[in-house]
Symmetry: C3
Subunit: 325 residues, 3 copies
């Protein structure tokens, strides 16, 4: 693996999943791969799960890490080409990324969308700058439009829950439903875009996305998914319910309507095939999902968060395995 | 040891002290115990000694660490049960602690009192939430009402200064006096509560607490201690003088009167039995204690701070020793 | 090496350079030296290169690190002697440094000038306090007036570019020109002072400093250098052009005139002997230097930044090599 910025960097999802399950079963067995390797982690906005799970993943692999909170820890970055830098910005991203990538063997980067101009966000300007400037492989710790480490952790979680056997895939397809859910703020589409992009490609999954009209994701990520608008209908027979709020792609940058009826309650979970409840966290309790669901055995959100370690560790492993020093 | 949140988690203080002295004498000899172990450190307010000494302790033990400054590094936490989270809080502590404990083998947590409502602080609501939610052993890095790593470091320091021999305890009891001292701000009672709780239990110590009327600590921590109100009288024959400000437990949340006569000066140290001056730091010079005392050989405050390494290392050692991976 | 605070702590520059080139050629071969060693890094102002390169250097050497952002991570420090600390400052530097040095084996410290009172800055009050209080060797991560790790990295970079052979020094001296350049803000003289102090001592370098009248550096750092005022004239035949803005030492604390004609352009680089462009970074593009220069092969600024790893690693190596535990 040369980089990890979307599912398109994965040659074979099933193979990667198999490796992840092996690594989780024996997490300290690959430390020759991480030896003397440094994984640099740059955050352009706050993080809890991604920061800590990436650090833990690196340690498990025998590697070390550094973390930079861009902004508070370092200089104000200039993004524009050709700028006469006589204002507030102190360092150009051209130098910053080339320098930071000189100080590590893998560069993890989190960027974010401004949620104002769709084209600007969907062009992934900052993330693509980082990719083009870095002298070492880049791993997305979430970008403006994608969050592949989360989606991979979600896949590992589903595989565990169905006792996935790489040698004998499920006879009957597993029904996974991603449902839009209400939220008081405008949120990025990175998590649902990425989940859609991954699960549309898993051949043992029957994948449905359900959302209110006007909240459809960018169709380039949802090819192969069933697109639905009736939440109750979509949840029927679901094995896994993946809830997430996202703001409208169509009416980009506008406030959510926030239809509270889309909250995932136990009543709705009862429509499923003893389905499990999933969410990437952080989650707004009693807005996105009821306490009753989240505090029951139906919820597997902590499993997902735990698998962030093994999602990151597997990716670092695949990138570093050909570079043993 | 299953957790370390107060002296009550210690089965045998003398045994723990013996282990600490052995570890300090040979600090890199137990690295099999920390191998592949991660110690997570969460700070809900600033720290210097606790942060750095815990990191150093983990390294000495062969373990690795991560540090999270709750707030600046991550999301705004919701504490209330049943809250409809449609406001400013972004993640519920229920998820946050369960997730963070999934990313480590020991979870160190610092919380703090608000010093407004005594019941709220003394119920240790936040800290107890953390304990109940964590899937791994919890170590107090100071809570609203206790700071046991500090007290243990103080005990190690006194033991060193009297050439403590675990096989032959002191023939004559060592007189330890904890004295209230002035301070411009309202401070927690965590350090003095904890010191009282520990030193009331050490059978080779004669322990006195001296404070102005109205500044008595919660009696549940001071059982067995001599309670005095005349500072000069109490300091007579003291082998160790432990100075600390604390705000009133009785008149909780009200401003200190700040009687400046209680400052520890060389004149007062001269009343002791060549006593040593102790303080947990940070200390307000010429308010709590005079420069003259702090800059003389009488002061052992740097020894106490240094022993914070070995207090933490011993606790991590005891918790991890049965979990060698 | 007992400390690293200026070139005067270096016994033999050529020997140190030779060691650095050996370490760079084989960066993981000295890990016995760093084993169980902790390098503490204290920053009193932001840092990118210094922070990350020092961490990487420590890892390469098998050592571990901690980083403290003084201020945000810890307490407000009191600097004054004899102060009655009943105001805002919470901890005296006397305790803070003695404690922090107890938690590491080498203490790296970054301080900064206020650029108001020249005497105050040039007395290096804060840095000298740290040196006098630390119980372990101190390494400058930039002080008010010097930045020796940067200068040493610059020397390593020049040595690489000329294929420096320790056994056979260059027959013809290498012409190095440090030129003042414009900048919108008042900047410290630490980098140019230090560069001058180092390169005046390298016997195979012909060293010129060129600046506008009134921008001469403190003469105690420039002894042996050619002092020039005509930039075009000075650049003739230069093998290396080291650009840097600094505010006036003579008119200390006053605004720069900011003569834009001093910007380093390709036209000016064409006056040199196929000279290379150097800058310590961060650099203001199209103010200090044109995009055209920085984006061409003429620029070796990323090499300099990369060599910050090996400059720090060599210094840590020299300090720790006699302390193998």
């Amino acid at each position: 693996m040369k980089q990890f910025t979307s599912v398109n960097d994965v040659q074979n999802i099933d193979e990667l999943l198999k490796t992840a399950l092996e690594i989780k079963a024996n997490p300290y067995a690959q430390q020759e791969i991480g030896k003397n390797k440094t994984i640099g982690l740059i955050f352009f906005n706050p993080s809890l799960r991604t920061r800590l799970s990436s650090i833990k993943a690196a340690y498990n692999l025998g590697a070390n890490t550094w973390v930079l909170n861009a902004g508070s820890d370092s200089w104000t970055l200039e993004m524009g080409d050709g700028t006469v830098m006589d204002g507030d910005t102190q360092e150009h991203i051209n130098e910053a990324i080339r320098v930071m990538s000189a100080y590590c063997d893998v560069l993890g980067v989190r960027t974010f969308p401004k949620l104002v101009d769709r084209d600007e966000d969907y062009q992934e300007i900052m993330f693509n700058k980082v990719k083009s400037l870095s002298s070492v492989p880049v791993v997305s710790l979430e970008s403006a439009t994608l969050h592949p480490l989360q989606s991979f952790a979600d896949l590992i979680t589903i595989a565990e829950k169905i006792n996935y056997n790489p040698a004998a895939k499920p006879e009957k397809k597993i029904k996974v439903v991603m449902t839009w859910a209400p939220h008081p703020r405008r949120l990025p589409q990175a998590v649902p875009n990425s989940f859609a992009e991954w699960f549309s490609k898993v051949d043992w999954v029957d994948f449905t996305i359900v959302q209110p009209k006007g909240f459809e994701l960018d169709s380039k990520f949802t090819e192969g998914a069933t697109i639905a608008y009736d939440q109750d209908e979509a949840l029927k027979d679901a094995d896994f319910v993946y809830a997430k709020n996202w703001s409208s792609y169509e009416n980009y940058g506008q406030a959510n309507e926030g239809d509270k009826d889309w909250q995932v309650t136990m009543e709705k979970m009862n429509l499923t095939n003893n389905g499990k409840f999933m969410h990437c966290l952080p989650v707004r309790r009693n807005v996105v999902v009821s306490d009753e669901v989240l505090d029951s055995d139906v919820s597997i959100v902590i499993d997902e968060a735990t698998n962030r370690i093994f999602s990151a560790q597997t990716v670092f492993h695949e990138i570093l395995k050909n570079k043993i020093k």
